[in-house]
Amino acid sequence: MKSLSRRSALKLGISGAAMLAAINPALALVKITVTGGNFTPLPIAIPNFASSNPAFGQQMSDIVRSNLKGSGLFSLIDTSSLPQNVGNISANPDFSIWRATGADAVVMGQVENTGQIEGSVRVWDTQAAEQVVGKSYASNSSGSRRIAHQISDAIYTSLTGEGGYFDTRIVFVAETGPKANRTKRLAIMDLDGSNLQYLTSGKTLALTPRFSANGKLLTYLNFDNGLPRVYLLDLASGRQQSIGNFGQMTFSPRFSPDGRSLVFSVEQGGATNLYAMAIGSNKPSQLTSGSAIDTGASYSPDGQKIAFESDRGGSQQIYIMGAGGGGAQRISYGKGSYSTPVFSPKGDLIAFTRQSGGQFHVGTMKPDGSSERILVSSFHAEGPSWAPNGRVIMFFKDPGGNSGPQLYSVDVWGRNEQKIQTPTFASDPAWSPLLS
């Protein structure tokens, strides 16, 4: 039997243990490697990138190393112990020397900053002694960090078989001031925290931002003249406008996968129901009816279904219905209440917030409600948003009292929880699609 390289093992591990078992139950060794607490990050060697400006080469390779280490899927071999301090993209590596460092993969890069930024990367599998991927990138002079993120995505994708997520941005609610009268405004930053900009003035409460599928528009809740209203924001122009006044309040908006319509909640007389509306049509169509609270709607990636939360049965639970409304089926059945369902971009999982036992939890379940997995438990955790590859989730935790919320990420296996640095308290993260 041909032995499976550890790189292949990583790929299978990312796909999940269940799928692995389906592929070949005999691969027990691999299963041990990649499941649960026994997961072993893939050892990878990244010498500094070659450059006519060595400081720039080091700076770019530092960003890449930081990204890959931060994913939790790779362990970086100490650069001081590498047989070669600076990479060479022109030559085939001597695989026996690289295998001796313990590296299963070695990354060679070259970057130049001469008016425009150029970057090339080659990823080699030291066990199979072959190239995994080779790519080149270019951008204008301000794009060096993005080139480093694109290189990181190429490495991540080549070794895991999953899409990347480093070349992305995060929109969130930046919170400042005393808790009883807190200013909440939208801010956008690169995933690594750089290039932060504020998108709303802070004069009104702005909450629950969500990206359109192409990353160019946001929809969010703005307390326009004190009343919650769904807004659209064009990121290129900064233009912001209400989608129209329907009912007493409109809130909890989210784009359809094709970006042409929105689903949102309309409150009237204490009842909250779901509506969908083609953007610009000014004609919302009602999807749910009754006196319950129906909110937190999220389309499946194929646009055929909507997951939402409703207290129609007494407590908040997650339901699934057709995108045209009707035939809602409850899918959450654990103890406590469930809310904020969000379909993964891959469509294989729904992330949610669960409250039980005096705690908040962020978890995932399959769209039929099976295979529930709690990823994080905390005094207060809420509001999951998916990375474009469907393998990492961002959310916020709040310790309560006079303190405030902070953003965190965790992978779908419940590993590698990390705090996302923001200059202020931050809530309601929205993860953009890949920028390119």
């Binding site: 808790k179 809130f251 909890s252 204490g270 609270i293 909110t295 407590s315 409250q355 009292g401």
Partner: protein, 159 residues
Amino acid sequence: MNIKTLSASFFRIFAMLALVVFVSACARTPATDLNAGGTAAAGSQQEFLVTVGDRVFFETGSSVISATGQQTLDKQAAWLSRYSNYRIMIEGHADERGTREYNIALGARRAAAVVNYLISRGVSSTRITSKSFGKERPVAVCNDISCWSQNRRSVTVVN
């Protein structure tokens, strides 16, 4: 004293200390400054705040108006029928132990319950508007039920 009783008494002392710290750390914004209301003019907004009461409280997740809440709203309705030049805005609020969007809807449901009750007591619907702040505007800030119960409220703002 064995280890078990030692740790039990330790826990009691710690719990007492924790309670003291908690209470003192619990910064409450008073609903109204009662001391300032000694000479509220009849028919003034201050009189409404001081002698009628501008808010009612709710149980966790509930929009049912309690007997105490009904008494407050009865007084509000009587005051509003006497001073018919005022319009009112009902603000619905939720505590922080819920998710953001649901709490906006829950605040609206509480506001609607108050609006309906006031209408049933003779206040014209044309004088009433309402909105929800969800959990975004707490009045009491701490990590226990003493604060959460003050934040699950509706507030009647006269203007």
